[in-house]
């Protein structure tokens, strides 16, 4: 025995007057080509002929078992939450260091891993890092970064070397610039631009 199971779209309509019914379907019959129409009301010959003429599938006065919509939505939400949780766990596991420390002249930060620096790097100060580097304030000092990417803003004084290549400061003037290595080429994208006041 061959069986199939599938869901269909049902359009349910109450039949009050034949005229309004027909004028409604005259306008909208295109929308219901893939629907099953369930008509609640008197089973009249003219309506049947009309629907046959429009090539629409229909039933009269049938109770169609419906799936519990609320439950379905809940189920979906649960699924979504489960999906979200996994990357969150990853983030917690990754050991990015967050520092709010002014890197002064002569100070050298050597970082094994990733760093988020919430302060300045002054002229003569330096950061050497093998991971990702994000600096939220201006860099006047030296940066040596071999990580996946850097996000920073520099002044003319800064000296930035990314994967052994010196990065020209003029590309790092915007408020925040993303520097990354794509196919052995350094790509710089300004993330936050300087607002220009007119």
């Amino acid at each position: 025995m061959k069986t199939k199971q599938y869901s269909a779209k049902i359009f349910e309509i109450d039949l009050d007057s034949e005229d309004s019914f027909i004028s409604f379907f005259d306008k909208n019959h295109q929308l219901f080509q893939n629907h099953l129409i369930v008509v609640n009301g008197d089973e009249s010959q003219s309506i049947k002929e009309y629907l046959n003429g429009k090539n629409l599938a229909y039933l009269f006065n049938k109770k169609i078992p419906k799936a519990n919509k609320e439950k379905e939505i809940l189920f979906e939400e649960e699924k979504k939450e489960e999906k979200k949780e996994e990357p969150l766990k990853e983030q917690i596991k990754s050991n990015i260091k967050v520092l709010d420390k002014l890197v002064r002249s002569g100070q050298e930060l050597v970082i094994d891993g990733d760093l988020l620096l919430l302060n300045r790097v002054n002229s003569g100060g330096s950061i050497i890092i093998n991971g990702t580097l994000i600096i939220t304030q201006i860099v006047d000092g030296d940066i040596r970064c071999d990580g996946d990417f850097m996000m920073l803003q520099t002044s003319d004084k800064a000296n930035v070397v990314f994967h052994g290549v010196e990065v020209d400061n003029k590309y790092l003037k915007e408020k925040l610039n993303r520097v990354e290595l794509i196919n052995d080429e350094i790509k710089i994208t300004p993330v936050l631009k300087e607002t220009s006041w007119v």
Partner: protein, 270 residues
Amino acid sequence: MGIVIAVISGKGGVGKTTTTANIGLGIAQNGKSCVVVDFDIGQRNLDMILGLENRVVYDMVHVMDDGVDVKQALIKSKMSPNLSFLAASQTKDKSVLNSEKILKLINSLKESFEYVILDAPAGIESGYEHTIEFADKAIIVVNPEVSSIRDSDRAIGILDSKSQRVKDGSEVDKFLIINRIDAKMVQSGEMLKSDDILEILSIPLIGKIPEDRGIIEASNQGRPIVLFENSKAGQAYKRIAKRLCGEKVDFVDVESETTGFMQKIKGIFK
């Protein structure tokens, strides 16, 4: 027990010694007992600026190494009875210093004075490290130019890692003096603004000193500029001394002061 203030800058020639002399005298004029100590061993000149060069008999090294009593080595200033001076050795060099002896000397000075002000040598060598080692507070003197700012930045970094207070888990209070501000040059954009300097060094300001031609003459005479009532720099040093004594003194904006004839005329029509 008195408090120990080190006056530092990193770079030479920015006005550490002048600042030490003026702040020391300013504090003394406020009625507090104060001793200024020249830590620039081998290159002393605080004695000249204070006008005491002909009165140095014993210096710091005599006290530390030869058993001379501190009271014998201290020189009382004629300009204020509250001010004393301890000279650096001119013949020895900084290698004679060691932490133990310095701590002993500073402790004995703290017992008899409310303020102990140490004039650090330029640079960041051992002489500098010994000066900041036992300081409670530090005054950083900076000129509005990039080289001075970078050197001060370095000096602050060393202060934050090598002073005894930091090793004990506390902190040295730091204050910034911006020296030799030329209002005209700041207004025309040739000189760095104080706000920019403060942002770079990120330590609190205790005063701004305008450029003043009178300082050179005052130093040559051995009379610190605070003694000159009409000097703008002298007034600025007076305000700093008051702030160090705990008084609240409003900041005077030495950068936006009207300078020159044309600007004064413009000021009238504002």
